[in-house]
Symmetry: C2
Subunit: 335 residues, 2 copies
C-alpha cells in the first residue's frame, strides 16, 4: 500500500500590542517565520475595529504563505494569539487591557469565528518567552525565565519544560516585584518595582532627572528649549554607545536594577536560562556586562553557574513564534 | 480465592537541623505522625557521630511504632530525610552545610546502609512545604509557596502539584531575594535580602537597634547591664503580645518586610497558597494582619485574591511529615 507523503501544515501567530500587531506563519514543526507582517493596532477603532484589522492582517499572511510555499488553505491548522494580560485563557478573553481600552473581550473566538480556524490565546510575555525557547536564545532550556523590557517589564516562566501560568493565568509579572522597599512609585500602585527603574520610560525618566543637574552631556543639546521628553531610552543607549559619560552611568544603573531583579529570580527559581528581550537589549554589552556582574554579586554562586543569561535572538518575532508554539502545544501536545 | 488484607506500611521521616534532629513514622497513606522524637544534633561529633545519633533515633522511632501499632520490621518501607541544602539529591549528598561543618557528605547512603532500608534526601525547606501541603495548612493547593522563618528564611515551591527543585536542586531560596537595593548586609554576601530583615536573628537585631534609643519599653529591663543579646525574636513577640509599643512596632515592620517578599512571590508565581511556618508565626495576628495588608498594597489584586496566606499547622513536625512525603513520591509515585 502506497503511503501518501504528509503535506506540510502551517500555523499563524499573532502578537497584539498596544501600538502594533505583528503576524506571521510557521510550519507546524518549526523553522523560519514566513510572511511576517506588521500594522498599527489603531486601538482608537475599538475592539471590533481592531479585530477587523487583525483579520485582514492574517488573511494577508495566509495568502502570502500560500504564494511562497505552494500551500493550500486547508494546510492551515489554526491561529495562536498573544495579547496583553490579564487574560482568561480557558474562555479566550482579554480581561483588562488598559492600552487597548478593552474589558472582557472575547478576542480568541472573534478571530476564530471570522476566519473559520481554531485559535488559542495566551499572554504576550509568555509567548515571547516560549518563542525564544522554541526557536531562539533559550533553546534547550528546561527551566527558563523570559524577561521582556519595553514600555513595561513582562515575564514568562517555563518550568520542567512546560509553560507555567500560575493559578489564575497571572504568573510572570516580574516587572512588578519590589527591589527597593520605599522606592519609586510604579504605575501598578506599588513602590520600588523593578519596572519603575528599568523599563524604557523609567530609563528615560532617570536620565532626565540626572540631566537637570548636568552640564556636559551629548544628551543636553537634544533637549532644545528644555524639551526633556525628547530623551528616551533609545537616545540614552545611542549616547552611551558614543561614549557619553552621563548616558553610560544611566545604563550601568539600569544594569544594577535588572541584575538585582534577575538575581532574585535565580535564587528563587534556579533556572538554567534567563533570556532578556526587548528594546533595552539594544544597549548590548554596555548593559549585559555590568548586569551579569551585579547578578554574580547578589545571587548564590551555584545558582549563577547553573544559568546562562542571554539576550533574545528573535527581536520583533519572538511573540509571533511563541504564539504559534502555544497554539501547537494546546492542539498538538508538546512542541 | 481469598485475598489477604494488605498490611499497613510505614515510612520514617527525619528532619535534620543544625541544633536538633526530629524523626517520626507515618502510615504510607498519611494520617497522624507516630512516635515523634527529637534529640540534639551534636554537630561537634562530626558527620559519622551525627549519623550514629540519627540511626539511634530512627531505631527508637521504629521500635516505638511497632509497640504502638503492632507493625513488624518488614512493614517499614524506608526513610525520607530532610537536610539543610545545598544538596545533590540524585547522589544523596549534603554538599555544604555550614551549621554542621559538612561538605559532600553521603548522608542518604550512610543512613540507608546502616538501617538496611531505602532512603531519600531532600532539602529541609522543601520537606516542610510538602508536609504542610500533604497534611497541613496548604492542603489542596495546586501551586504553593512555603516559607520557613527561623534562624534563616527558607522556601519550598510546588507547581502544578509537583515539588519544584530547579535546575540544580537550589530553587526556593526566597530568603535571599533583594527587597532593599542597598539595604542591610546579609550573611550570603548580598545586601537587602529578605532574610536580613525578617529572620529570627534579624528581628532581634532590629529590636536592639531601636532599644538603644528608647526609654520606655518592657524589653529594657531584660537587658540587665546592657546585655542586648538577651533580646530575641521570642522576647519581642512576648512583649508585643503584652502590649509593649516598641515591640509592636518591630513586629509591624517585620510584617512589612515579609509582606513585600510575599507580594513579589504572588506577582511572579500566582500561587494559590502561601504557607508561612517557623518561630516567627508565634506572633500570630499581630504579624499576619499587617502582613496581609502589606501584601494587598503591593501585589496585583487578582493575584492576591487567588491566594490564601496561612500559617503552618504542623509546627515541629512539618519537616518530618514532608520527609515521609518526599520518600513516598520518589518510591511510590504521587502522594
Amino acid at each position: 500500500m502506497a503511503t501518501k507523503k504528509a503535506r506540510q501544515q502551517y500555523i499563524v501567530g499573532v502578537d497584539l500590542g498596544g501600538t502594533n500587531v505583528v503576524a506571521g506563519a510557521m510550519a507546524s514543526e518549526g523553522g523560519d517565520t514566513i510572511a511576517v507582517r506588521s500594522i498599527a493596532t489603531s486601538a482608537e477603532l475599538g475592539a471590533e475595529g481592531v479585530v477587523d484589522r487583525i483579520v485582514g492582517l492574517i488573511e494577508g499572511v495566509v495568502l502570502d504563505t500560500i504564494h511562497k510555499t505552494g500551500a493550500s488553505r486547508d494546510d492551515f491548522l489554526g491561529i495562536g494569539i498573544g495579547a496583553p494580560g490579564p487574560l482568561d485563557r480557558e474562555r479566550g478573553l482579554v480581561l483588562i487591557a488598559p492600552n487597548l481600552g478593552w474589558r472582557d473581550f472575547p478576542l480568541r473566538d472573534r478571530i476564530s469565528g471570522r476566519l473559520g480556524l481554531p485559535a488559542t490565546l495566551d499572554n504576550d510575555a509568555n509567548c515571547a518567552t516560549v518563542g525564544e525557547w522554541w526557536q531562539g536564545a533559550a533553546r534547550g532550556g528546561r527551566n527558563v525565565v523570559g524577561i521582556t523590557i519595553g514600555t513595561g517589564i513582562g515575564g514568562g516562566l517555563i518550568f520542567d519544560g512546560r509553560l507555567f501560568h500560575g493559578s489564575s493565568d497571572l504568573a510572570g509579572e516580574i516587572g512588578h516585584t519590589t527591589i527597593e522597599l520605599n522606592g519609586r512609585h510604579c504605575k501598578c500602585g506599588n513602590y520600588g518595582c523593578l519596572e519603575a527603574y528599568a523599563s524604557g520610560p523609567a530609563i528615560a525618566t532617570r536620565a532626565r532627572e540626572v540631566l537637570v543637574r548636568e552640564e556636559t552631556s551629548s544628551l543636553i543639546p537634544q533637549m532644545v528649549g528644555g524639551q526633556y521628553e525628547r530623551i528616551t531610552a533609545q537616545t540614552v543607549y545611542d549616547a552611551s554607545h558614543q561614549g557619553d559619560a552621563v548616558a553610560q552611568e544611566i545604563v550601568r544603573d539600569t544594569a544594577k536594577y535588572l541584575g538585582a531583579g534577575i538575581a532574585n529570580l535565580l535564587n528563587t527559581l534556579n533556572v538554567d536560562v534567563v533570556v532578556v528581550a526587548g528594546g533595552v537589549t539594544a544597549a548590548g554589552d554596555a548593559l549585559f556586562v555590568p548586569m551579569r556582574a551585579e547578578i554574580r554579586r547578589r545571587a548564590f554562586r551555584p545558582a549563577v553557574e547553573a544559568a546562562r543569561i542571554v539576550a533574545g535572538t528573535l527581536p520583533g518575532t519572538a511573540g509571533v513564534v511563541g504564539a504559534v508554539a502555544t497554539f501547537k502545544m494546546q492542539h498538538l501536545g508538546d512542541l
